[in-house]
Symmetry: C2
Subunit: 353 residues, 2 copies
Amino acid sequence: MPETARRADRPGDHRPGNRYGNRPTMKDVAARAGVGLKTVSRVVNGEPGVTPDTERRVQEAIEALGFRRNDSARVLRKGRTASIGLVLEDLADPFYGPLSRAVEEVARAHGALLINGSSAEDPDREQELALALCARRVDGLVIIPAGDDHRYLEPEIRAGVATVFVDRPAGRIDADVVLSDNFGGARDGVAHLIAHGHRRIGFIGDMPRIHTAAERLRGYRAAMEDAGTAVADGWMSLGGTDPERVRRAAEEMLSGPDAVTAVFTGNNRVTVTVIRVLAALSRPVALVGFDDLELADLLQPGVTVVAQDAAALGRTAAERLFRQLDGTLLAPERIELPTRLVERGSGEIPPSG
Amino acid sequence: MPETARRADRPGDHRPGNRYGNRPTMKDVAARAGVGLKTVSRVVNGEPGVTPDTERRVQEAIEALGFRRNDSARVLRKGRTASIGLVLEDLADPFYGPLSRAVEEVARAHGALLINGSSAEDPDREQELALALCARRVDGLVIIPAGDDHRYLEPEIRAGVATVFVDRPAGRIDADVVLSDNFGGARDGVAHLIAHGHRRIGFIGDMPRIHTAAERLRGYRAAMEDAGTAVADGWMSLGGTDPERVRRAAEEMLSGPDAVTAVFTGNNRVTVTVIRVLAALSRPVALVGFDDLELADLLQPGVTVVAQDAAALGRTAAERLFRQLDGTLLAPERIELPTRLVERGSGEIPPSG
DNA sequence: CGCGCCTTTGACAACGTTGTCCAGGCTCTA
DNA sequence: TAGAGCCTGGACAACGTTGTCAAAGGCGCG
């Protein structure tokens, strides 16, 4: 059996091909079909210049051997991998599922595959991931930044890796960014509470080193200032999304003489925890949360939220990325998508106490 | 500037390298550092046998040029890609987020990246994706099957691609499978309703061509039979998860003289729709759903569910995959993970009417 | 001081594919 | 029938990396 023995006894060579269990190559197919190597390549890639008869013989050989083109070798030769990388925070977070899916759909429409990884909000891990993807020579990167310094990407971008940041801006480099209007959304949400009579409004959000969290905090402050309301220190919690911590923060700002009558929550994880705290309370407290939640309309009361469109974020970013790759590239731009206030009940509760 | 001009004027060659924007290679680094090619390779890979002084010179050249190893070429030479593929149904589905993340974590622990794609429940697309991943020479595949014939993977598996199926079994090939106990879980869920006095119980699930849906239906039937209860045709809806369709099916089985007093829903998407239908109803109807939901405990009443551990499914599958790759491979096995009944109120409502 | 041994280094081939270019056979026309 | 032109097919190099092997250099020991 000359085929399978092909790599078997060439002394002094290490034969990494064995790792693939002696996968057939175009050379093998060519030998079996009795044609040249390049002819097989032509058939595999649907290139013209092959007689139907030759093509049939090659196809048969391909079938018989179970040949599949090695894209690694192809990439090496062609220079494009037809794959893009997505670095996000946590694939398990319901906010990133639709975003990721949207990126995938756009990639698919362009014939590209999606490689993704979670940074777990760790800047080092973000960098490690992004650079690993660059080493794979992805054609482009969609990044939801965890860190705030992306100069490490400069050589990659110069080398032609298309790059778009989503959800949060890039740090210290000039690059395309697609964001939600975090400031405006938060300001509108808080203004909504103010319009319903609230003045003592709490804010529970993530750490301000995260851009979205800082922007939403800024929106909260702006709305309060617009209303001429001073913000007490105890009304703000900026310590992250750990449920226990959020719970304590909420309970604190909801007690005492200066207790808030309404709470604005800075993201979906915080909102969920706060809903639990409020549910255990006897008196009604108004709530508006940033990010929508599944089933939010079915709770009692329904949860009023500032919704952002995760899928639109992903889609916009991916489309922009492929436009960079098409060469129809403009200067880096900052695109801001609007948010939408969804009234469901919890945000329309009047102040009590 | 000899470096950048390196590929510039060799006539008759097409220079795909330009695609990378003239990315530096080890050869460039070697030239700049005044060492041999292999020495650069040694430094990049942390191999021994390089003097500290030489290493420093090479490192400096790497920094200066912004060199990053081309993993495509590396893969070609070494035979392993250190990446695994995940084919799932829909990344945006909250059930698959944690599963995907769990697979990613295991991959990361083994130094591998994750490439994933959504089949959108389309067998052709599943095949297309899986084979595209094989062409990329992923080391292994985790597949949540959409189709029921996976013989197309036989050549790949023979060629050494580790393969594990999750959530649903493989069709017509012998392969590792990691499943939830869909039959037992559904049977327990329905038995729970029966134990609370229900006899007229509806079942709304996905199309039975999907294995999990069929198993859950089987569990429903078994529980009903155990209780000696005949099942009326109108009590079962097996037409998929389209919300409008589910809504109609629910409304139908909840009306008329033979109306059900309880509903068992076959997956999270169906459950969500049915919750909305029940919320609009005046009389209380018991509900147990397969799959857990975020916020399920905060609804009125809380939603009783048969919970499966998506993360455990992913983790188990991925670990098994890497054991295949380690060579500590046993015969293909079918692993079934238990489900857990979570009582929250909706499943404990007594029959009314 | 010379021999052999060990360490460091580099030349070279090979991984599997695709772009270039040329050869050979065919058809068509003058 | 000869020459021009087209079509099909194949030889070859190159993509950027790593394994093999051998050479060069340094060192200790007799």
